[in-house]
Symmetry: D2
Subunit: 179 residues, 4 copies
């Protein structure tokens, strides 16, 4: 059984990143994976100060143990200033090789404007740095304000198919690459 | 008179990034610039939630007004996971075009291991995205734990000369590009 | 008087990159700059072998002297495989710091599919590496096959305005940064 | 049986990239893989003109068929101007999804100066774009002129161990990810 953790890298109350991640999570679950979202809006995490101990923040330990126990990871970020959100990057900074290495990771970015791969590229280099794998299938949702219907489903069928392929690749390759 | 603001993107108590930024700031001051450090360890900034108002955090306004009033900017980050620190990226996320555009920006990264330009590249793309200028002179300090003497000066003369050229370029080109 | 050289990084007979570069060149000329296109389809350049001498290829010297004499540079590439074209990169490989440093450079990429900034980012890092300046204004033309009318003019007014701002910035800042 | 093709992205007569690639190839062979080097110095390849047919250059077909038949790929480049060599990028431009997708790829860069990951990052984004996999283990050899002994072996044991891990990962994961 493959375990997938999705990290939601947006703190916005009505986050399109949350909708996007939900779409991915439902799909990996439909493929038989156990999947869970770590919603940074509901976690109390500090800014990383370069150290490894955060005794006043039990959510740091929760984050680390959940991610460490996962086979697959989904990183979802709004693209802020042509890159990953600070809050998502900070969440990654709170973890180290022992939590992140060897995970099979899928990347999703969400933009208000035209679709772009800046944030995806940044995340790909970061995940490589912690010795994770990144699946080739990646998703950038442009003009996210018109991408979802009122039930949070994807309006565009092509985009929905990209999510299908994304989830399939994440689950299949988490199994294949599992040690 | 050129005004330069340096943002210290590390929260570590004994931060080598702080020492590096101090070296740059002293040099731009020696060239006649007015210069100031925004030390994130001494500011109380929230995680960016995608909105623009943070009424409970007056330091957001302080950050924005200081940066807006500057001609030149120095961004200093420890390289975490092959990229910019989350806390620095979050600080940038709290600002927008009106604060960051047209600034002439210099980039410094500090690493425990071998020197690399991953974090510098990330910052360069980010600053471009907010329509800032980035000077070609950039500094990555590898093995930062042995780069400074007990008084915080640079031990390596070649590196010190790179700081000289960095400061000179920042000041000269802030003047040239000023509207 | 500002001198601008545009390098056309496509060898395709009916190149959209050529149309895009033409649009930029006309605009910098209208602003009073002297401008010229180096069309790689009409030059006989070898693959760079890591050496600096290419006695059998007089166009190497032509390339180098033209670029060296310019204040501003426009690099235009089709986006191939999410990056700069090999032929443009090879052309840059044939030059060195003495030809490329301190140039004020504008970047244009042309794609068949959706607009993206992968090739632009690659070029930005390359130009920095040779100590050139890159203007913040950059242009990625997506779905280039429908971007131009039969006379080679831009159909989309917003895109035409981006070219206006691109040309203005290139000329203005070439003057400002000129030593 | 895993088949690996290594592409040598340097045309320099005494290429350190060739020595580096040789080290990797020997190791994957020792692990039971069938491995072959495509030495661009010995192939007659044209500049890519955006088309797919090169009837006067039979080596294009050779390149494509060799790469298509491989499970694993090693891309080796000298870092020119903070990026991949033009000649290697051009070689990739001559191929398409049908040749490059799904390959498990390892990346090596060779520099005269200090080690850096610019060219590696560029290649990682390119390989992703053609839907290939890139192993997390990557190698940048700095100051390549002092990295090899007279028999072409690696002088530094740590670096040799990185090659061991690189080869092991390439072979193991080519098997795991093979469809």
């Amino acid at each position: 059984m493959v375990k997938v953790v999705g990290i939601l890298g947006s703190l916005r109350p009505d986050s399109y990143s949350a909708l996007a991640l939900q779409q991915a999570i439902e799909r990996v679950q439909a493929l038989g994976a156990e999947a869970e979202i770590l919603d940074l809006r509901e976690m109390n995490l500090p800014f990383c100060d370069g150290g490894s101990e955060y005794p006043n923040y039990p959510d740091v330990e929760l984050l680390r143990s959940k991610v460490k126990a996962a086979d697959g990871l989904i990183l979802t970020t709004p693209e802020y200033h042509g890159s990953v959100s600070g809050v998502l990057k900070n969440t990654l900074d709170l973890m180290s090789f022992e939590h992140l290495s060897d995970k099979v990771t899928g990347l999703i970015s969400v933009l208000g404007g035209q679709s772009n791969s800046n944030a995806l590229n940044t995340m790909r280099i970061i995940v490589r740095w912690v010795h994770g794998w990144v699946i080739p299938e990646q998703i950038a949702i442009g003009q996210a304000w018109q991408a979802f219907d009122t039930e949070g489903k994807l309006k565009d069928e092509k985009l929905a198919e990209r999510f299908d392929a994304f989830a399939q690749s994440l689950v299949d390759n988490s199994i294949k690459l599992k040690k």
